[in-house]
Symmetry: C2
Subunit: 342 residues, 2 copies
DNA sequence: TATCCGAATTGGATCGTTCAAGACGTCGAG
DNA sequence: CTCGACGTCTTGAACGATCCAATTCGGATA
């Protein structure tokens, strides 16, 4: 087995001191061009890699960022996280960081994990997914001056910390406009109970678009927790009203899938109309463009998750490497993927 | 800001030397009970956490294990990875390890990443997902004596390295028996091209079960890459044969979903028979029990992913912390989740 | 020619932990 | 009584990088 290559090995090989090698790595501009090249060459031939452990011990920086991985709830919306994670890992690698996973049952456990990760692993920053009103996690991190970015707005104060989010209201608005353009007026909405930032946002997009079109949204929406069965139940309830809505917008693909079953009980199967025109029955639009939506032919609002993840890393590295000011938040626009259900 | 708590701080507080504190943490049995308690108390009151960086520098161990996160291909089968990852992170945490993510475009890039992770981060071990014949990655790792476990068998030599896998043949066999029990004889199979370990395994389960039942499988199967469209095409092809199969087993949920469309072009929608009895048309069984299968009511073979991930961590920690012998591999049994399509 | 200046380089100290070696008191065997 | 063994604890050195202060060196200036 070959001997371990340290900064000293490189220095000897390039006939310079350790410090010069360190400078080549960390502050190349202060090293003479010729020397710099000789050192780079030695690094390459020896296959030298800086030891993160040693660097970390001296600098307190680990070049590691943490992301929480959540349990896949009903399995449908879980794929959102998967795509986000992949984008995050990729962008982080390009920026010289690595992504570390952790799990946590609740906010308190998550904070305990922060503490552990910070003191044991010297984590550089965190990417939080899914924020809500009065989030105790962000408060804890901010208190300690830890770098972090959230995927999801801080619903109380938009300037509280750097964040990236997708404009959910714009998504449901787009879905609603699509249905309005098709001639629908009484467009229903199935979403989550008031109080969650994301849920309220998506509902608002539908409500305001309807109002702008001169339609009174009163009585046209329902609230429930997520799930296919719930979606079916509420869609049935909504369609039993007099007069019933002629189309439905849902806050998630799970709800939409349930709604589909209520909206077209005897419609042709999955991907009803091979020619691409909407199938029969009440049109339904979902949210998140999950694989299930694609498989079933459900029209859905798609979030630019790869991009969102990349922007999260951008913001985080800006905080870590750049000047100590909070970078501007990023609000991305979703897009409507039209399939066969609307 | 409070001063940093190091092992020396604890030592002073507990009136012992640094080494004694270290012993309390790493080899408690050689410390006198009374002293041990005093040190533990000091650790608790001071909120001391060992610095992984410092420990790592001395021992060369990082308590980090790496897992590759793949792009979600068609999005349907991607959820498999998601569930696996969550289980892995959880079990790793319990064992005192953390999971680090990485991506790689191909085997060569993946090996380059190993090199980087090993020399820069001192990674303790790797969990590889998806193995194939003559895997260059495992050879590289084994050559260097790096600890690793694969989720997926080494198809060439079952004793090459520790592994965890799910018995795919048993899964398709179970699916086939289910259909045989329902009175079917001519049961078709749609799978991947010969040559991939996983694909051949799943096909074998179907073939042997059919043979054991006295049915000649010749001409009853088709090969293709994964995808809904492909599944539909081949199912149509298979059903056009004379005589056609009366039921289908598929190597993935994607293929099964496509097959469903060919097998029951005008069948009732998603979750056809609310009473739980199979819907009309040719029965179809998928593989992986993805969220899509659950949503659509597709009968599918379910892999115990959580368990598989846990066993991966078990094996890896056994290699890392235990004696230098390769632990016995683990082959888990899948289970058939019967829904409405079979 | 002597002096000064800044760019480039050097050696030593340091981060927090574990390893190797040794000190100390107690005990039982010879 | 001496010796070695044992259990318990302490001390100094080392891991590999960066930071800091000091030094060299070539060229410009007085």
């Amino acid at each position: 087995m070959a001997e371990k290559v340290t900064i000293a090995t490189v220095a000897r090989h390039a006939q310079v001191s350790r410090q010069t090698v360190s400078n080549v790595l960390n502050t190349p501009h202060i090293v003479r061009e010729e020397t710099r090249q000789r050192v780079q060459e030695a690094i390459a031939t020896l296959g030298y890699r800086v030891s993160q452990a040693a660097r970390q011990m001296r600098t307190g920086r680990s070049r590691l960022i943490a992301v929480r991985i959540e349990p896949t709830r009903d399995g449908i919306n879980g794929s959102v996280l998967d795509r986000f994670l992949h984008g995050l890992t990729e962008t982080a690698e390009a920026a010289g960081y690595r992504a570390l996973l952790y799990t946590a049952a609740d906010a308190a456990a998550e904070i305990a994990t922060y503490d552990d990760l910070l003191s044991a692993y010297d984590l550089d920053g965190f990417v939080l997914t899914g924020t809500d009103h009065g989030d105790s996690r962000t408060a804890w991190l901010a208190d300690r001056g830890v770098a972090f970015v959230t995927f999801g707005r801080p619903w109380d104060d938009p300037d509280a910390h750097p964040w990236v989010d997708v404009d959910g209201a714009a998504g449901t608005a787009q879905a609603t406009r699509h249905l309005l353009a098709a001639g629908h007026r009484r467009i229903g909405f199935i979403g989550w109970p008031a109080g969650s930032g994301v849920g309220d946002d998506r509902r608002a997009g539908w409500r305001e678009t309807l109002r702008a079109a001169g339609v009174d949204p009163t009585g046209l929406d329902r609230e429930t927790l997520d799930g296919i069965a719930e979606g079916e139940r509420l869609a049935a309830d909504l369609l039993a009203a007099a007069p019933p809505p002629t189309a439905l917008v849902c806050a998630s693909d799970s709800l939409a899938l349930g709604a589909l079953q209520a909206a077209r009980p005897s419609a042709p199967a999955v991907r009803a109309a091979p020619d691409g025109r909407p199938g029969a029955g009440v049109p339904v639009i979902g949210f998140d463009d999950t694989p299930v939506a694609a498989a079933v032919g459900l029209t859905s609002v798609s979030q630019p998750l790869r991009d969102a993840a990349a922007r999260c890393v951008d913001l985080l590295t800006a905080v870590l490497d750049g000047p100590p000011r909070t970078p501007a938040p990023v609000l991305l626009q979703p897009s409507l993927v039209v399939r066969h259900t609307a």
